[in-house]
Amino acid sequence: MALLEIKNLHVGVEDEDIKILNGVDLTLDTGDLHAIMGPNGSGKSTLAAVLAGREEYEVLDGEILYDGEDLLELEPEERAEAGVFLAFQYPVELPGVSMTNFLKEAVNSVREARGQDELGSADFLQYMRERADMMGLNADLTKRSVNEGFSGGEKKRNEIFQLAMLEPKLAILDETDSGLDIDALKNVADGVNKLRSEDRGFLIITHYQRILDYIVPDHVHVMLDGKIVRTGDKDLALELEEHGYDWVREEAAAAA
């Protein structure tokens, strides 16, 4: 069934006369992995931000259904509790806040929302170790402050690690591949592949095709000027790699 349904979504920036999304339609089924590709400024990251509930964007028209419910009605933390996870393009540093404290609060808040018991300290640490092992995360990172002094690659890996910790129903990856060298990219892709499951949908936003060599998508969409202009399977990504976005742009212009 549809986990996420985006219908005719129009979005602008609050207090400014700028429109970024111009009627996005997208349906994502549980268990599926969709990739959204597009050039800079096409609105991909805005879509991710709107899904997570960032305040500075204003929804002008359209709707988003998540699990059949109106997602736009929910506060950002309620969305997280309902199982929406965003892997940030630029994860922020939280100086002095230990990864352990941060994730314990986060995991327990999500567990509580799901009607599960909170994890005590010992159980939590055990769980965190298991997940770190599974994701191949250097255990030292879990002893540091959240993202503080992490390299670019470590920050991105940490996002995927948090995804593994929080076990969301919908995981949105906002350009997680950008700025990664090939080893880090493979590591991140490995993590995502391990986390793919029948009960989880993925929306992967990317600029480049190369991550899709490692994470094979079920569907690929191309976004241009705030609209999805083309949808296909994994081969569409390869075509884009070969011909560039201009090809889609011309085609879209011709169709209009």
């Binding site: 950002p76 922020v92 609060e105 808040s109 929080l166």
Partner: protein, 486 residues
């Protein structure tokens, strides 16, 4: 900061102060106002030796001279009415008793008062590993674990008792670090000081437990003027903590303490404060004026003095716990979190005076300000001409919660020796929308997120607190933040 967060942070001050109740107990009070007679009265009530009465009188005369010539310490970034020294009481003894021989003599109301504050005075109920001196208004009501400490030769008793039992030690050190001529409030304190703690750790002894004094102001219209003196003989170690609370009242009350620390060769004194005096109501009425002089001297070589403070209370706070680094290779540290909200104002920091060779000082200050509060760091690092190889590192970070509060940093550096290495870093940050959103996206609500971020910001300082009190400190910060985000 976005609008919703601003609103969310508003009304911080309306959060109720937890320790604002009053114990209804008969109290013997000195008449209002200050004179030589009042000074003599206090000294007499405390059965003090003649030399101490004389010392008080000298301090009083100096104080009077400053007042008469209009010498008020008005230079700080603080805006408040000068205390009305003539309308204040300088001595209040709950139950009319200036001292207690044993815990059995202490009336139940007083025991209950401290029990309610989480400071049980019966040793079997007390936190193991912490000895407590409990001071209510002008009188020390009990000191726990005295026997156990005596076995090691550690003296831990109220100042009043110490002046009688160990006159030579008190006389030798009293006023040796903070002379009564230091400033107006030090002069006032020297004239009228009531109880406080005296600690003496003999040569080579590591004090076997944390020492702690809990100060409670109870009576209205009364100032509290405690005096604390800690002496660490060569090779000694002691960790001491003070905590403070007071009832909620409409008028301001004055708390003017003097603390002196003396560290001899190879010794170490760790002094921690959790200050939670009543901060006043949401309109800025009432609250404690916390005007305090704290200073330590690293007298001997290789000695160390470390100040750690968590300042969350008081309407006005002005204090600069300082270290005179006289001994070679001596070390001074200052770790501070000052949290001001509502109409609170704080001007706090430290002075590190490098005199000995290869002396080292570290200053870590975290100021957090909310509502319309004002928070200033003021610090001086001074290196004397002979202090070869002196090193200082200072870091002063300010965090603003909301658009109407203030944070200020006044670092002064005075170096007279070319070999000195002095580093200063300062940052001012707002709790960022990005940080809050990141936390929200992981399922944390406004309050949880803010607590996490602020606690993280203070972590470097909080981790310096003795373990027994670190939890209390974190809880206190959490409570402060709770109303802040309603």
């Amino acid at each position: 900061m976005s609008t919703s967060e601003t609103e969310y942070l508003k009304g911080k001050a309306s959060e109720e102060y937890k320790h604002g109740w009053y114990t209804d107990i008969e109290s013997e009070k000195a008449p209002r106002g200050l004179s030589e007679d009042i000074v003599r009265y206090i000294s007499k009530r405390k059965d003090e030796p003649e030399w101490l009465t004389e010392w008080r009188l000298k301090a009083y005369r100096y104080f009077k001279q400053l007042i008469d010539s209009g010498h008020y310490p008005d230079w700080a970034h603080l805006d408040y009415e000068r205390p009305d020294f003539e309308n204040m009481r300088y001595f209040a003894a709950p139950n009319g008793q200036a001292q207690y021989e044993s815990l059995d003599d202490v009336p139940d109301e007083i025991l209950e008062t401290f029990e309610r504050l989480g400071i049980p005075l019966e040793e079997q109920k007390a936190l193991t590993g912490v000895a407590v001196d409990a001071v209510m208004d002008s009188v020390s009501v009990a000191t726990t674990f005295k026997e156990k400490l005596r076995e090691k030769g550690v003296i831990f008793k109220s100042f009043g008792e110490a002046a009688k039992d160990h006159p030579e030690l008190v006389r030798q050190h009293l006023g040796s670090v903070v002379p009564y001529t230091d400033n107006l409030y030090a002069a006032l304190n020297s004239a009228v000081f009531s109880d406080g703690s005296f600690v003496y750790v003999p040569e080579g002894v590591t004090c076997p437990m944390e020492l702690s004094t809990y100060f409670r102001i109870n009576e209205a219209g009364t100032g509290q003027f405690e005096r604390t003196l800690i002496v660490a003989e060569p090779g000694a170690y002691v960790s001491y903590l003070e905590g403070c609370t007071a009832p909620m009242r409409k008028e301001n009350q004055l708390h003017a303490a003097v603390v002196e620390l003396i560290a001899h060769e190879d010794s170490e004194i760790k002094y921690s404060t959790i200050q939670n005096w009543y901060p006043g109501d949401e309109d800025g009425n009432g609250g404690i004026y916390n005007l305090v002089t704290k200073r330590g001297i690293c007298k001997g070589d290789n000695s160390k003095i470390s100040w750690t403070q968590l300042e969350t209370g008081s309407a006005v706070t002005q204090k600069y716990p300082s270290v005179i680094l006289a001994g070679d290779n001596s070390v001074g540290e200052f770790y501070s979190v000052a949290f001001t909200k509502g109409h609170q104002q704080a001007d706090t920091g430290t002075k590190m005076q490098h005199i000995g060779k290869n002396t080292k000082s570290t200053i870590i200050s975290k100021g957090i300000s909310a509502d319309v509060a004002d928070n200033s760091y003021r610090g001086l690092v001074k290196v004397s001409a002979n202090a070869d190889g002196a090193r200082n590192f200072s870091q002063c970070d300010s965090m603003l919660l909301g658009p109407d509060c203030g944070a200020h940093t006044y670092p002064y550096i005075e170096s007279n020796n070319p070999t000195a290495q002095i580093e200063h870093e300062a940052t001012t940050s707002k709790v960022g929308d990005d940080q809050m959103f990141y936390c929200h996206q992981r399922g944390l609500g406004e309050e949880e997120a803010l607590k996490l971020i602020v606690n993280g910001f203070c972590q470097e300082v909080l981790q310096e607190l003795p373990m027994e009190f670190a939890v209390e400190a974190k809880e206190l910060l959490d409570i402060e933040l709770e109303g802040s985000v309603g």
